[in-house]
Amino acid sequence: MAISPFVEIDATQKLDPFKGVKKIPLEEYFTSGHRTCQGCESALVMKMMVKAAGPRTIVLGSTGCMYVANTTYYSTSWVVPWMHTQLGSSGSAGLGAAAALKAQMRKGKMKKEPINVIAFCGDGGGADMGLGAISASLTHPDYNFLILLYDNESYANTDIQLSGSTPYGAHTTFSPPGKMKRIMHHRWKKNTAGMLAAGHPECKYVSTICMSYGLLGMNCIRKALAIGGPTFVHSLDPCPKGWDYDPYISHELGELAVTTGIWPLYEVENHTLRLLGKTREIADKRYVRQPVRDYLMKQGRFAHFTKDDIDYFQSKVDEMWQKWLIPGVIPMMKDLEGDAPPAE
């Protein structure tokens, strides 16, 4: 898409994709000193996100696990400059920081150089409270920053409450299953990345990642930072505490989310959609989607599911793959009969 001549984008860092795990630098910018749970995939996302971005990076984090566990009790695991923002303000604070850096450089008060600005938020802060702020910030084409949503599918920091990203039927402290009503949470997970990609014509890069596929995830982050303007990356992170499973299988659960087709990996680069990794193989019919049961039944939060519940979940995922206009991305179904061109 053409960019308006009135938009002035500063140069970004040259961040070519890592061509294999052996090419990933050894240096860490998110190190020891955090207090995340054993098997926390979100901590892995932080580590790989900032490794992909490199040392000339400012990270902003809104309230959530990745704030509280990483920057409290007089310690931090961040080696790069880091700042906290309000729970719902990762979008606004990221935009503010990027715009301020640009102004300082324009006025000659700072050396002109590309600095990555990454604002991260959890699913509560990003998909619920901060959605408006993220949406507004993605409409500003002049500033270079990335918003990364780490999605562990609950308000994990305040002891596992429901969020707009919590999957259907999951047990949270706001949706306790009981004898009278087995499924207290009967809403389908919000399609945040698809919504942001479809609704923001000035945003040049949106992708979904899962750090069980680390190299792919890191390269998506590098692309998002290098492309210029506001960008958005949505990461699905298994959470041993909230999802109630043995921390040993965190990585495996991330893979299962993708191979069952529940979490499609894709990128929308300059408004061109590309399915990625295993998701692409599923779409190309080179890989058969695994049953959702394999994913659900490994997690305590779905332990109350009956066969009917699993079947319903499977049918919704099947519907996503078979009926959506763009499987896994755009939840609109094509009305084939009504789609015929009007008669002359």
């Binding site: 719902g88 619920d128 305040t158 409450q161 429901l162 706001f174 949706s175």
Partner: protein, 350 residues
């Protein structure tokens, strides 16, 4: 029925007994158990729990339910209450009753999740815009978490105004025995509500008055309501205060510490007493003046940096020396700590 209960859970038990049937909220430590209990218990009595996507949404959902004539509440902690302020001002301006629980934690900013009383100004003086007041009750025990929530519903409806249950994280998180009567309050009829029925078709709920005289008249009407509340609603508790030379003043968990400090002082022959405001707005000014009439010194103790102190000084108006002691950041003073603030000097003077 006597039962062991957590402060936050007692809030919902009290709310249900008060006839509350709608809770809209958002998680935040140390108030999350209020919403969790609402999610668990309200559906069991035919009520509704809905999770909001933010406190801004929660308070506006409360606005909606209140306008529809339902006894409704929300709960949060400081950062959430900050987000609710515009909505609270709208509720007050539109004369809509509701109950909001503020479990105070350390601040400002994200602060921490330990008990503090730093939201006094925001809740008691009105943190939102415009001329309005919140009715504020301050529980000091788990029993009162339930009882004062019930009272808050009653006062909110009586004055058609938001009522705040202002408690510190300590009272909200502690577990004590409570005695609850198995008798449910009947919510009053609300002919002003918008219910979509023929009877309520002409009802209008709004807080916009563009014409200056019209807005002035509306505000005078609200002032008259507040003046009535100031006459009728102040509540307080006295403990050994009748003959006290040193009067300790504190609310919430602080009052529990002060009570022990009074006992310790009395054992040593020092006449100390406690004045505990139960309503923070309207502040029990007259009762405080009476209680401090023969005191040589008043000591205000807070988990904040001198917020209620202002109201105590305004009430006493220079009649007696007012001293102040505070702990903040999540620290709670010990009995010995408070005792040392007044006992040694008072004994030396005697």
């Amino acid at each position: 029925m006597r039962q062991l209960c957590k402060g936050n859970v007692a809030v919902i038990k009290g709310a249900i007994l008060a006839g509350c049937r709608a809770y809209y909220g958002y998680p935040i430590t140390p108030a999350s158990e209020i919403a969790e209990s609402a999610a668990l218990m309200l559906p069991q009595v035919g009520g509704t729990f809905l999770q909001a996507e933010s406190e801004v949404a929660a308070i506006n959902m409360v606005y909606g339910a209140s306008a529809a004539g339902v006894r409704v509440m929300s709960g949060s902690s400081g950062p959430g209450l900050s987000l609710m302020q515009e909505g609270i001002s709208y509720l007050a301006g539109a004369e809509l009753p509701c109950v909001i629980v503020d479990v105070m934690r350390g601040g400002p900013g994200l602060g921490n999740i330990a008990p503090e009383q730093g939201d006094y100004f925001a809740m008691v003086k009105g943190g939102g815009h415009g001329n309005y007041r919140n009715i504020v009750v301050a529980p000091a025990s788990v029993q009162e978490m339930a009882e004062l929530t019930m009272l808050a519903f009653e006062l909110a409806d009586k004055y058609r105004n938001p009522a705040v249950v202002l408690c510190d994280g300590f009272v909200a998180q502690m577990v004590e025995a409570v005695e609850l009567e198995d008798r449910e309050a009947v919510a009053p009829d609300k002919p002003w509500a918008v219910k979509g029925t023929a009877a309520t078709r002409k009802n209008l709920i709004t807080s916009i008055y563009l014409e200056s005289d019209e807005l002035e008249a509306h505000q005078r009407h609200m002032e008259a309501k507040y003046a009535r509340a100031q006459r009728e609603e102040p509540r307080h508790e006295l403990y050994q205060a009748r003959d006290a030379d040193v009067l300790l003043v504190g609310y919430g968990i602080v009052s529990r510490v002060l009570r022990s400090a009074v006992e310790k002082a009395r054992q040593e022959g020092l006449r100390a007493g406690l004045f505990r405001p139960i309503t923070l707005w309207p502040f029990p000014e007259k009762a405080l003046v009476a209680a401090a009439a023969r005191a040589k010194k008043v000591l205000v103790v807070e988990l904040s940096n001198g917020q209620m102190l202002e109201d105590v000084r305004l009430a006493l108006d220079g009649r007696v020396t007012v001293e102040f002691y505070s702990r903040v950041g999540g620290n709670v003073p010990t009995t010995e700590e408070v005792h040392a603030r007044f006992a040694t000097r008072a004994q030396a003077a005697a």
